[in-house]
Amino acid sequence: MVKFMEVRWHGRGGQGTVTAAKLFAEAMLGAGKHVQAFPEYGPERMGAPLKAYNRISDDPLTVHCQVAHPRIVAVVDSTLIGMVDVLEGVPEDGIVIVNTANPPSQVGEKIGAGMRKVFTVDATRISLETMGRAMPNTPMLGALARASGEIGLADLLVQIQKNFGKKFSQKVIDGNLRAVERAYEEVQGE
């Protein structure tokens, strides 16, 4: 049987959440994995809650159903907490990564995380300081890499450099790489 890891992303339209799922898939592809990335398709509206998903595996992925029980959840916008059930279907050994300045214990209590591990990172502040814009999606990749242990920082940076190299100026790339690196270092776990 094919084993795979599933990730669910929560964000709002315009925050680059779908792009984050895509980048994560491309980075993992570059690291030799089989990947899927897909958004939950609905009307696309700036600011509206949305979800995106990843499946990552060492073997070819064949399933094309929705992700019902993700082991990892990444919350790009913490104002969604209380509005949408970010723990829906997440198993007891699951991991939740939230973009917030608050400590993991406080967030864990608020969402009723129970046995699930909670990680927090101030991805918005990091993006403002490294890129001059509130784009929390790339730093969230750093936090995801650290919390999940699925890809090392050096590998992730190489993949992002490769991916961005075709599309952006070195200044933009450097900002993004610094953001990923800082999020990787600054993410806090319980």
Partner: protein, 393 residues
């Protein structure tokens, strides 16, 4: 090994089209196939292809322009979905009756009403009698591979028919997946130089397309279309063999998974095939003799081969992602069930309608079907031959 990429189904199709480099594309983009033409128009604008891209005012005009261009002698491709395919309806029959090997990607989407943009097979299943060859794709890789093979199948002088390459809207068209590309030169060599047959633009040898054809010869011309479909079966396998030699990837009329010694099996087409495959793996680990048939070619319908592949089962469930209102089950179900009548001991055949308007088909839904099949295989009563799989009632 070719380049490994993470592409959506739509990007995979646009990339295949760039490598094929057709003479003419006429299109009126519609969700969820829009990105194909959006990306392709960038290739045209950037001078990466030689294609004459014709932006028209409707899908009816899109296919009409494709027909004109194909009759003129061009290699022609387009893409559409749902209502777009519906609006092409009368022209579908003209393309096939005129024997023009147009290749069209159909990104499967539900038909209105009610309005729904998500994936099901109502659009292409409704076009199943229009004389087009139909290839269904499980994922982005298959959509890419099918499109390249479709060129060769349609243009073969034994066939000369238009081909639809179908993939599930959003589930495949908008999902990023790992896949492998062929090199530009490999695709170019594989699809070969296009040789027009009786082109309108050959003014030294003037011909007429679409003349009236009454009681005297209409039947013979329809009979020739049937013959072309029969011939297509051999051509599809020949092309698949050549493609395997090129890519290492195997294609046939359908994919068989754990079928040889299976007692119960599901038959399905499109993206649900791989999901069912994961359930077969689970069941096999538990000692259940479960199998799966993933249908790739629906037209021409490979009924003899299906018979051979499934005749030994005790119970089979055919999953249809489209209904045929008022009929005895979905379109794939009733053809498979009829075909299995030719078996000496046909299995019990159940039909399930699923996934309309993009409704998810989860692992548990598929497990439920196999549980029911096991019960029926052990001699249990069939409660309902045809049923909806995921519905509120």
């Amino acid at each position: 090994m070719g380049q490994i990429v993470a592409f959506t189904g739509n990007t995979a199709i646009a990339e295949a089209m760039r490598q094929i480099n057709p003479d003419v594309c006429a299109a009126y983009p519609i969700t969820p196939s829009t990105e194909i033409m959006q990306q392709y128009s960038s290739f045209v604008a950037d001078g990466l292809v030689d294609t004459e891209l014709v932006a028209v005012e409707s899908e009816h005009s899109a296919l009409s322009a494709c027909i004109g261009a194909a009759a003129a002698g061009g290699r022609v491709m387009t893409a559409t979905s749902s209502q777009g395919l519906a609006l092409m309806w009368e022209m579908l029959y003209i393309a096939s009756g005129t024997r023009l090997p147009i290749v069209m990607t159909v990104v499967n989407r539900a038909l209105s009403s009610p309005l729904n943009i998500h994936g099901d097979h109502s659009d292409s299943m409704g076009a199943r009698d229009s004389g087009w060859i139909q290839l269904y794709s499980e994922n982005a890789q298959e959509a890419y591979d099918n499109l390249i093979q479709a060129m060769r199948i349609g243009q073969d002088m034994r066939v000369r028919l238009p081909v639809m390459v179908c993939m599930d809207g959003f589930i495949i068209s908008h999902s990023i997946e790992r896949m492998e590309l062929l090199a530009d030169s490999q695709v170019k060599n594989f699809v070969k130089e296009y040789i027009p047959h009786y082109p309108l633009l050959d003014t030294d040898h003037p011909v007429t397309y679409g003349p009236i054809d009454l009681q005297d010869y209409y039947t013979e011309h329809k009979r020739q279309q049937v013959e072309a479909m029969r011939e297509a079966k051999g051509v599809i396998l020949e092309v698949a063999e050549e493609f395997r030699a090129l890519s290492g990837r195997e294609y046939a009329f359908f994919g068989e998974y754990q079928l040889r010694d299976a007692e119960v099996a599901i038959m399905v087409l499109g993206s649900a095939g791989g999901t069912a495959q994961a359930v077969v793996d689970e069941l096999r680990a538990d000692g259940v003799k479960a199998g799966l048939l993933k249908l790739r070619v629906f037209r021409p319908f490979p009924w003899e081969e299906i018979n051979q592949s499934l005749g030994h089962l005790k119970a089979l469930a055919v999953l249809d992602r489209a209904d045929s209102f008022g009929a005895f089950g979905g379109p794939v179900f009733h053809e498979v069930r009829a075909a299995l009548m030719e078996s000496s001991h046909p299995p019990k055949v159940l039909g399930h309608i699923y996934g309309l308007g993009g409704r998810d088909l989860g692992l548990e839904d598929i497990r439920r079907v196999y549980r029911e099949l096991e019960r029926v295989a052990r001699g249990g009563q069939v409660n309902q031959v045809v049923d909806y799989l995921t519905v509120r009632e």
